[in-house]
């Protein structure tokens, strides 16, 4: 097939990717958008198979079948609560594919007569670095989300010095690869150093900052594809990679803004440990925390007209999304207005809560963003906080010395009554007590999220 047709096919695929992303701007058109993207990918693959450089199909078909089986199984089997770890894993696979393709391209480039162009070897080095950092960074993120390695920030002294050194070594090895492409050992070392860097960059980041990391790695996986596009001088890779790179960066920015922290602070800074100025848990909670029961809370709903449910990571952990949706439906039957107030960094990835609630058949119209619902929170009769902590901590507004000072929060404390379902008074990732739990209008329901909601439902049905 002539190059002209191949390139037109790639252009068509690129257009379909852009239209596909555009479809994602509304839930109504999103399924079609995803299909357009998949069609674009199908066209790109078919067109590539028609390339005259491909002489054998056995290896390709084996690879495609194996990949499709593994990917398909993962996609069908995964639970919605585990979505962040699956996305982290897929990000990583995109990264390692770039490393492998760039490695093969390096070998092919040295086979021909004459030295490969510098622009190709530069792009090969870039693919190796970005791809390896993405792969190992994503594996660490996966391990943290899955609970295989400590979700807490793993810190050791001199971390940043080591990272800087590794980055410099990677840069030096890149220059080596560019100067002497036929020395494959240099490429191997480059991948190795970038892999260690990828691990060390993600290991110090704590669980609550995972939405930022997953979004950033998403961006990297796109940039890795774009770098591979420069290796192969292939526009569809460059276009697609930059689209994904841009998407990941925007999500990263949104997440950082939602925590009132800069990206550098998330990646390299650690939330200041409590001590000195901050009030201790005893000061804040002593004698003021009121514990309640599901039965009592069920009675409160009788007088309520507007209820806001505020989910957090705890809802995902206890798999409480279905009972929560049933509770909301029950309340709505009684003429109560029910909305969900969703903080941008609730959960472990952007939009995590929305997906869980969608799984439980909650219509997306009732999912309200923080900005939309905050101004009217003083008209909410009952705010039901489920497994969220730092994102509803009023200290962010009131205490400028707090580690979360200035972070936008959901103003649940303005509701007439706040019911907080939580296992204990233990602090969130910020490590600080939450005065919300001790407010006059707060009631604590200590226990597992799912069980508490189910108990509330049965009490409601009894009376």
């Amino acid at each position: 097939m002539p190059d002209l047709i191949i390139n037109i096919g790639y252009l068509l695929a690129s257009v379909l990717f852009i239209l596909g992303l555009k479809g994602l701007t509304h839930p109504r058109t999103a399924v079609r958008g995803n299909l357009l993207g998949a069609t674009g990918m199908f066209i790109a693959v078919i067109i590539t198979l028609a390339n005259h450089n491909i002489v054998s199909f056995e290896v390709i078909i084996a690879g495609l079948i194996l990949g499709a089986i593994v990917g398909g199984t993962l996609a069908v089997k995964i639970q919605m609560t585990d979505m962040p770890e699956l996305v982290a894993l897929f990000n990583g696979f995109g990264g390692i594919a770039s490393v492998l393709v760039a490695g093969a391209a390096l070998i092919e480039a040295t086979l021909g007569t004459g030295a490969p162009l510098a622009q190709v070897t530069i792009a090969i080095a870039a693919s190796a670095i970005i791809g390896a950092v993405t792969f190992w960074g994503s594996l660490v993120a996966f391990g943290k989300l899955r609970g295989l390695i400590s979700e807490n920030a793993v810190l050791f002294s001199g971390q940043q010095v080591i990272n800087t050194l590794l980055a410099l070594i990677a840069l030096g090895l890149s220059i080596g690869v560019i100067a002497d492409p036929s020395n494959f050992l240099l490429y191997g070392l480059l991948v190795l150093v970038a892999s260690v860097l990828g691990i060390l960059l993600v290991i110090p980041i704590g669980g609550a900052d995972m939405p930022v990391v997953v979004a950033l790695l998403n961006s990297y996986s796109g940039l890795a594809a774009a770098a591979t596009g420069f290796v192969l001088s292939n526009n569809v890779l460059i276009i697609t990679g930059s689209l994904v790179g841009a998407s990941g960066i925007i999500l990263t920015q949104i997440m950082c803004k939602a925590m009132n922290r800069s990206l550098t602070n998330v990646l390299f800074g650690v939330l200041a440990p409590v001590g000195g100025g901050g009030a201790t848990a005893d000061d804040v909670y002593a004698g003021r925390v009121k514990s309640s029961s599901p039965e009592e809370v069920a009675l409160l709903f009788d007088a309520a007209r507007r209820v806001a449910i505020v989910p957090g990571y705890g809802m995902a952990v206890s798999q409480a999304q279905h009972p929560v949706a049933s509770l909301a439906a029950l309340l709505q039957e009684r003429g109560i207005e029910v909305e969900y107030a969703i903080h941008p960094v609730a959960g472990r990835m952007p939009g995590h809560m929305n997906v869980l609630l969608a799984e439980a058949d909650v219509p997306y119209e009732s999912l309200k963003s923080m900005e939309d619902i905050n101004p009217s929170f003083d008209q909410v009769d009952i705010a039901l906080v489920l497994g969220a902590n730092d994102v509803v901590n009023p200290l962010a507004r009131t205490d400028p010395s707090s580690p979360i000072a200035g972070m936008p929060i959901i103003d649940v404390d303005k509701a007439r009554t706040v019911v907080i379902i939580k296992r204990s008074l233990s602090p969130g990732f910020a490590g600080i007590p939450n005065p919300l739990f001790a407010l006059d209008n707060s009631l604590m329901l200590f226990g597992d999220g799912k069980k508490m909601v189910l108990d509330m439902i049965s009490s409601l049905k009894e009376n």
Binding site: T25, N34, A75, M80, I96, A104, I107, T228
Partner: protein, 93 residues
């Protein structure tokens, strides 16, 4: 050199297109956005197919094969799981 400049031009313009579109995507769809954009970043499969099929050396074919496997997991898994999620958003409307 011309090819490189053309590549960089496309890269920069596509980033702008990406910014314009992505900023319009509502927070509700951020997870499907990530998995969906992740699936299309599996476009590296194109490069992987070329390496796996052109049979320069045993090593390039092996690297290509592995790349095809990883990129295909990314593509197939990404699109399917995105479709699964989006179907949940759709069914109530």
């Amino acid at each position: 050199m011309d090819l490189l400049i053309a590549g960089i031009t496309i890269f920069v313009l596509a980033i702008f297109v990406g910014f314009e579109i992505i900023t319009k995507i509502p927070p509700t769809l951020h997870t499907p956005l990530m998995s969906g954009s992740n699936a299309i970043s599996g476009i590296t499969v194109v490069g992987a197919l070329l390496s796996a099929g052109s049979q320069h050396t045993m090593l390039t074919t092996t690297l290509g094969f592995l790349a095809v496997v990883f990129a295909t997991i990314n593509v197939v898994g990404g699109f399917l799981v995105t479709n699964r999620m989006l179907a949940m958003f759709k069914k109530k409307s």
